[in-house]
């Protein structure tokens, strides 16, 4: 544990220096991302092909709102339905987040192996898992911050509404992140040994991305096999919960006897999220360790 914090400190310093040194790149990244997302959303919405998505807006429970929601169809707004647009933006950003985190474990890991940084990490007495955990925690927190800024900017432009619940939002974000880490560790383990899977992983990442974008409860009422599969993937439940909290402002149950911590329309998604977290993290780390050992055997930790 102490080792983890030492490594974490080193990682934070490293990433802080790089962000500071390349602040211009970070900034342009956010601006370009902002522009692209805006273009996509406006394109999406103006084609009007997404009617099936937004469920009837439930009146938000009492939560902190950042901005009063304008009544739908206010003239002068960029899109006719800001709530729906915001929903998409959120989906996009969760998707990008999942894409990025899993990418850290696939293409990122592959690149590190090629460059020899991976071997350096293996030479640290704290072990590869600890090092990689620290690395991805720092990377993940970075991504959360920059995509948070982007999300806020876009919502603001679209005159949409974002809700922030001081309990629900951080808890859900953390769970989502841990979930993705666990999944990433599993995929990463495979990439360590079978370098070719790195290409396949792009498909997995795209699936996760699409799922985050379109996830909603309605998806879960199809064939039971499909439903089970969707629950298994690490982003479905997370995206659904996040959308409830951020877009519809449902969060911690307030008033009355607390029966469930979260007062979603679909609390089972939250339970599935927790289950996913436990399973993926456990499985992921075990898989990564086993694969790391196998990788030593095959000598694939380096550029080979």
């Amino acid at each position: 544990m102490r080792g983890f914090f030492l490594v974490l400190k080193a990682e934070i310093v490293r990433s802080w220096i790089i962000t500071r040194r390349y602040w211009f790149r970070t900034l342009t990244g956010i601006i370009v991302g902002y522009g692209m997302l805006m273009a996509l959303i406006i394109g999406f919405m103006s084609r009007g092909g997404m009617d099936a998505v937004a469920p009837a807006d439930a009146p938000p429970t009492t939560v902190v709102t950042e901005q009063a929601a304008p009544p739908p169809g206010v003239p002068g707004g960029l899109v006719s339905d800001p709530t729906k647009a915001t929903r998409y933006v959120l989906g996009f950003i969760i998707g990008l987040f999942a894409f990025g985190i899993v990418g850290l474990f696939t293409q990122g890991l592959q690149g590190m192996a090629q460059m020899g940084v991976l071997e350096q990490l293996c030479l640290s007495p704290h072990g590869l898992v600890t090092n990689f955990l620290a690395r991805s925690v720092v990377g993940g927190v970075n991504t959360i911050f920059s995509s948070g800024i982007m999300l806020w900017l876009i919502t603001w432009t679209l005159r949409g509404t974002l809700y922030w619940d001081w309990v629900a939002a951080p808890v859900l974000l953390a769970l989502t992140f841990i979930n993705l880490l666990g999944f990433g560790f599993m995929v990463g383990g495979l990439v360590l040994v079978f370098k070719q899977t790195g290409q396949l992983a792009i498909i997995v990442r795209l699936v996760l991305f699409g799922l985050a974008l379109f996830a909603e409860e309605g998806l879960l009422h199809g064939h039971w096999l499909m439903t089970a599969f969707l629950h298994m993937l690490p982003v479905t439940d997370a995206a659904i919960c996040l959308k409830y909290v951020f877009i519809q402002g449902q969060g911690v149950a307030t008033g009355g006897p607390v029966t469930s911590v979260f007062a979603f329309e679909a609390p089972y998604c939250f339970y599935f999220l927790i289950l996913n977290c436990v399973v993926w993290t456990g499985l992921g780390i075990v898989c990564f360790k086993v694969m790391e050992n196998h990788s030593r055997h095959k000598g694939t930790l380096g550029a080979y």
């Binding site: 080193a10 310093v13 490293r14 940084v117 030479l123 704290h126 030593r296 055997h297 000598g299 930790l301």
Partner: protein
């Protein structure tokens, strides 16, 4: 040398498999759906490195030197045998082992390019539990010594190849390890820097009792630096002896007869006691280079015989030199034909 060895390889073996799909078989010219190729990177390799010793590992490309280094540092797991570092089994006690070794692997991308050398050392120092004032102090001293004094605050991506190599060496030394593994450390370095590194290696071993393993293709470096040398060829340890003994084994057997005209090698075939004959016509004029057996009577016989033949052939003999044996020659002999011709071949002599 009775102390416990710092590094010990005990009958280590390693075979790599590479898979090929739709593989074209060279012999049958037929394409197979799936083929597995085996590469023996280590076959029954045993050697030890004592405290205060510089051990050189030589061998042609693909011989298995880097694999040996990686096995000692726990990056590659041997299939058979065991590797001990300071008495600890590398497989079982990797963490403790890693605290004691510093490794420079080939390639220059081990450092983090957007950071400066100082920041790199801080980062890697932290990964190895070096902190605070000690880290700072050591970083500055290492960079000064290796000649990166005025590049301390330049991003690594702006450094030259040799400067990156120097930084890699500093990174390996940041935790002040007792065991230092250097895989081709002097490639790309200028004369001053490789001099500095060689001096440093000697200082660390002679005065501080550390042990160093170097692999190199530079025979001069090996000859000058190493106390003992192991030569690997195709995963097999061909020889492993003290440098002086290795040179001695192969010395006193090449004689160069300088002549007035180029000799016809055919006239000097099948003489008793002669291992190899070579007609030379280089810058130093025409000559006949003769490799003779080490055994005294045979050698005497061979020398008389060649002189007789030279006289018969009407050559004018200008001079006879006994060639100084170089490690390069020894290396070439040992790795081109896999025989260790003179003396019984021991895996290791201490």
């Amino acid at each position: 040398m009775s102390a416990q060895p710092l590094v010990e390889l005990d009958h280590v073996a390693k075979t790599f498999y590479t898979r090929h799909f739709l593989h074209l078989d060279e012999e049958t010219r037929r394409r197979r759906l799936y083929a597995r190729r085996t590469v023996h990177a280590a076959r029954d390799i045993s050697f030890t490195i004592q405290p205060g010793e510089v051990f050189g590992l030589l061998g042609p490309n693909g011989a298995g030197k880097t694999t040996a280094v990686k096995m000692i540092s726990g990056l590659v797991r041997p299939d058979g045998g065991a590797v001990y570092v300071d008495g600890l089994d590398v497989e079982r006690r990797r963490r403790q082992v890693l605290r004691q070794i510093g490794v420079v692997l080939e390639g220059t991308r081990t450092s983090i390019w957007p950071l400066t050398p100082l920041e790199n050392l801080a980062y890697y120092g932290n990964l190895k539990d070096v902190r605070g004032a000690e880290l700072k102090d050591r970083s500055h001293r290492l960079l000064d010594f290796i000649g990166l004094r005025d590049k301390k605050n330049v991003q690594v991506r702006r450094l030259s190849r040799g400067e990156k190599q120097k930084l890699a060496i500093c990174i390996a030394l940041i935790a002040d390890p007792r065991i230092i593994l250097l895989d081709e450390p002097t490639t790309g370095l200028d004369v001053q820097s490789s001099r500095a590194i060689k001096d440093r290696i000697l200082e660390m071993t002679r005065e501080l009792g550390k042990c160093v393993l170097v692999t190199t293709h530079d025979m001069a470096v090996a000859q000058e630096l190493c106390d003992r040398i192991g030569i690997i060829n195709k995963g097999e340890l061909v020889t492993c002896r003290p440098t002086a003994e290795l040179l001695d084994l192969f010395s006193e057997q090449i004689f160069a007869f300088k002549l007035d005209r180029a000799p016809a090698a055919a006239e000097f075939q099948d003489m008793p006691g002669v291992i190899a004959v070579e007609a030379e016509n280089g810058e130093e004029g025409p000559a006949l280079a003769l490799t003779v057996v080490r055994e005294a009577a045979g050698r005497s016989e061979a020398l008389y015989e060649v002189i007789a033949r030279l006289r018969r052939g009407g050559y004018q003999l200008r001079s006879i030199n006994q060639r100084q044996q170089t490690l390069e020659n020894v290396f070439l002999q040992l790795t081109t034909d896999l025989r260790e011709s003179p003396a019984p071949s021991g895996r290791e002599t201490k």
